[in-house]
Symmetry: C2
Subunit: 190 residues, 2 copies
């Protein structure tokens, strides 16, 4: 199973307006694009994938929301649709394949089960040179536009998260997810 964790430094932790995702919702557009890149294929959902986000913005941080590709239903890949799931989840509504917990980043990482963890970071080892094995659970941690907080970086490095780079430029988190998926598809989905 492929597991992604996004740290959303300013994203809203209470229901928000769907018309201002990039503004008052604290760059919730980034969160939505990462959900979309993680879970959706053209005409299908990646059942072998989990997406986790820890929302750290006002008013009630932290909130950890999980999306399980194996069980989400009736979600579309567009930002507004995904945002409406997030906002309603924050209001207490339940959906199949979506779970809300009051967990911070470190608690979330400790709660997720994985065999090997990676951190997406400029200057890390080239994704294409990383060894991946079939039937293992991988966790990939990503920051948003503000990056990964220093104390979390320290934790990841002391906990043997390998640093992965996807290319020579600085890409959106959602685009990094696309490239990680593609690399693993090439290895395991022929």
């Amino acid at each position: 199973v492929r597991k992604f964790l996004l740290i959303a430094n300013k994203a809203a932790t209470a229901p928000f307006k769907l018309n201002d995702l990039a503004g008052s919702a604290g760059r919730m557009d980034i969160v939505c694009r990462c959900v979309s890149s993680s879970l959706f294929l053209s005409h299908g959902i990646r059942k072998d994938t989990e997406f986790h986000v820890v929302l750290l913005g006002p008013p009630n941080p932290p909130k950890h929301i999980s999306f399980y590709g194996s069980s989400v239903r009736r979600m579309g890949p567009d930002e507004r649709n995904i945002a409406s799931f997030i906002s309603k989840t924050l209001s207490g509504k339940k959906f199949p394949g979506v779970e809300l917990r009051d967990e911070g980043v470190l608690e979330t990482i400790e709660a997720i089960e994985y065999d090997e963890g990676f951190l997406l970071e400029m200057g890390g080892k080239d994704l294409r040179e990383i060894e991946f094995l079939p039937n293992r659970d991988y966790l990939f941690v990503l920051g948003d536009h503000l990056g990964i907080p220093e104390e979390i970086l320290k934790y990841l490095k002391t906990n043997e998260f390998g640093e992965i780079s996807v290319g020579p430029l600085k890409y959106f988190s959602s685009h990094c997810i696309v490239m990680v998926h593609n690399e693993m598809d090439r290895r395991f989905c022929s």
Copy 2:
């Protein structure tokens, strides 16, 4: 220069509601994600990239809208912001780096200047094995969720557009763009 052309089979050709991009606007969300993948990097715009879309939905098809990375201003990477540029452009408003023309797909392809053309298609040659040369203009043609109309496919094939595949699964057009950019970045932006 890297040039992308998306064929948006059902996308609206008159101003549309920003709250229903995936519905009444004819999957305009797909168009917006492709603009975003084509032009945006984290904290920057790809000045060497053009994105073209031909909108073929009601009520006034066809409409060809071009976005030039070298000159677009104040555009955000989120779907709603890009959609508002498209909708206002369709209403006749002008923006730097955005142009509207009454051109169909074939006219658009003939109007774009490029040295070599490619077609993103399952089963094509692996992107990673394509030879790209520096300082050439490449055009990449993509379909939306409905694919590329048969007569356009025929035209592309008789006009020596090479078929490129980005991986073993069927990916979103916007994700194909991410992977094409990444491959070219790896070759030319070290």
